[in-house]
């Protein structure tokens, strides 16, 4: 275990030892919590396994952890499974990249133009409140079975999340900073780059973090409806075969992937938003 004493080079002259001991305590507490959390999971799995062992539950419908982990291990060495996984992840990446970029840009533009916002807001609200996964079959109709329809389903989810967050964020410049920008006679461009955008970044990031998860959701749903490859397809085919433990193994993989994506976004956010001083 390493302790990041250099976490805050800026405060070199503030009492370093106190800071460090606080960090040590923090990490210690964190480890304590983490092991407690893991224990809860293990106990739950054990109970599930015992219940299956003593035939208290019907493994035909609910599977059993040992079988799930065995299936998981099998999947990890199975090139067919990885083919499905890569197909899902690539679509997730593109759905997120396209949806978040266009959504954020659209949000920033709408926040700047009052009349554009007034005209489009009712429609954006309606589209946003509609359960957009219902569009997935339509995308398959439009783009055919394959990568493009999956990406379209993901984009339709991510775009609006990014748009709403970017728009809300760029309205958060407070009076005081606005006065400063005006007093310094900043051009529209400077005002945007040095005031409006930095203020919006935390909100944009909150949108991106959600966007990653929703991109995965959109892709898997599209794959469950119709696909040639992908984990969503695997899920439906295992379900149809009553292979519940294998199904759980795919869900476990998806869970691990989305947790990983979410934590990386959090890490990136923390780095970029160092100036907020949140531990």
């Amino acid at each position: 275990m390493t302790i990041d004493v250099k976490a805050n080079p800026a405060v070199a002259s503030s009492p370093a030892p106190r800071r460090m001991s606080k960090n040590v305590r923090f990490i210690g507490g964190h480890l304590g919590t983490l092991s407690a959390q893991i224990s809860v999971g293990i106990v739950a799995l054990l109970l599930w396994e015992l219940a299956a062992h003593y035939k208290l539950i019907d493994t035909f419908f609910v599977g059993r952890p040992s079988a799930m982990l065995l299936a998981f291990a099998g999947h990890m060495t199975d090139s067919v499974f990885w083919g499905h996984a890569v197909s899902t992840l690539v679509a997730t990446f593109w759905g997120f990249a396209i949806g978040s970029t266009t959504g954020t840009l659209a949000g920033l533009v709408l926040a700047r133009s009052k009349w554009l916002a007034t005209l489009s807001m009712p429609y954006i609200t309606m589209l946003n409140t509609m359960p957009r996964v219902a569009l997935a079959p339509l995308f398959i109709l439009w783009f055919g079975v394959g990568m493009n329809s999956k990406i379209a389903a993901a984009v339709s989810l991510v775009f609006f999340i990014a748009l709403i967050n970017a728009m809300a964020g760029s309205r958060q410049l407070d009076r005081d900073l606005d006065d400063l920008a005006r007093f310094l006679r900043c051009s529209e461009f400077t005002r945007f780059v040095h005031f409006v955008f930095p203020v919006a970044v935390p909100s944009i990031f909150a949108g991106l973090r959600l966007g990653v998860i929703y991109s995965l959701l959109g892709v898997v749903v599209a794959e469950m409806i119709a696909a040639q490859t992908g984990l969503g397809l695997l899920i439906t085919s295992y379900t149809n075969q009553f292979a519940v433990s294998e199904l759980f193994s795919v869900l476990l993989f998806l869970m691990l992937v989305s947790t990983l994506l979410n934590t990386s976004m959090e890490k990136l956010e923390k780095r970029l938003l160092r100036w907020q001083g949140r531990e």
Binding site: N8, S13, L184, R185, W275, G277
Partner: protein, 279 residues
């Protein structure tokens, strides 16, 4: 970059062709100001104020809370347009702020996503200071306000007093010829306030800039300024306009025991109490 070149031209034009500074006499003529409010009738903030401030004078503006001091300052800064009346600077009507103005806002208005040094440099850049000179000037001013070790700190890592010192350093670093200050020392403890008052007075005596200084502290007003303008309760009118006859350079510790200070203080505090008692 075009923006910056334009600023540099603006600056030298303001200084006059021969390097001779153009007059910055301030002439506030018959100013009235109403703030619109959605619910009831407009708020009458400033009532028929006229005020001539010759170049180089240090004027303190005092009065009950909400009487329109900040509003008056914002109007001189070009941030608020008076409902009626006009403000002339050096004989020309003011529209928008000017590059030779500096403003220390009531709240620190540091950009939280920039370090202390970057904050100073940003204001320098906006004032048309050449990129190569900014770092040197910023370091020099951080040293002058005792923050040389905090150049890389972010806003959240600074105390109120330190933030205010950055705001002062950032403003004075551009060598403004008119300095507007809105209760710049109000958030400080007594010791730090005395240090900064002394420091500011010395820096100001070097520059010969005009100062309009809002404060709630009558002692501070009398000890630092050439003239104290006392406003009535809202809508703010000028109740007392008094020249302070203490020799320069001032001695903030010793001057408070002079008869001139005593007399001025009694007169102003009686008038202020009268305003506070009036309902």
């Amino acid at each position: 970059m075009r923006e910056q070149a334009a600023r540099a031209v603006e600056m030298s034009a303001a200084r006059g062709a021969a390097g001779e500074a153009a007059s910055l006499d301030i002439d506030v003529v018959d100013i009235d100001h109403y703030f619109r409010s959605q619910s009831d009738r407009p708020v009458h903030a400033v009532d028929d104020v006229s005020l001539q401030i010759p170049q180089g004078q240090f004027v303190a503006l005092v009065g009950p809370s909400g009487c329109g001091k900040t509003t008056l300052l914002n109007m001189i800064a070009g941030l608020v347009e008076p409902s009626s009346g006009r403000i002339m600077v050096g004989g020309t009507p003011i529209k928008g702020s000017r590059p030779e103005f500096g403003y220390v806002f009531a709240r620190d208005t540091l950009l939280p996503w920039r370090t202390v040094r970057q904050n100073v440099e940003f204001v320098l850049a906006m004032s048309g200071v050449d990129r190569r000179e900014r770092a040197g000037i910023a370091n020099d001013w951080l040293k002058r306000v005792g923050l040389q070790d905090f150049g890389d700190a972010y806003r959240y890592q600074l105390s109120q007093g330190m933030r205010q010192r950055v705001a002062i350093a950032r403003t004075l670093a551009t060598r403004p010829r008119l300095i507007l200050m809105d209760e710049p020392f109000a958030a400080l403890d007594a010791q730090t306030r005395l240090i900064l008052q002394n420091e500011f007075i010395r820096l100001w005596e070097e520059t010969g800039a005009t100062v309009v200084f809002v404060t709630h502290d009558l002692t501070e007003a009398i000890l630092m300024s050439d003239r104290v303008v006392l406003m009535t309760r809202r809508p703010g009118r000028i109740k007392i306009d008094k020249l302070i006859d203490l020799p320069r350079p001032r001695n903030l510790e010793a001057d408070r025991f002079t008869p001139e200070f005593r007399l001025s203080y009694d007169q102003l505090s009686d008038a202020l109490r009268e305003e506070l008692d009036r309902l």
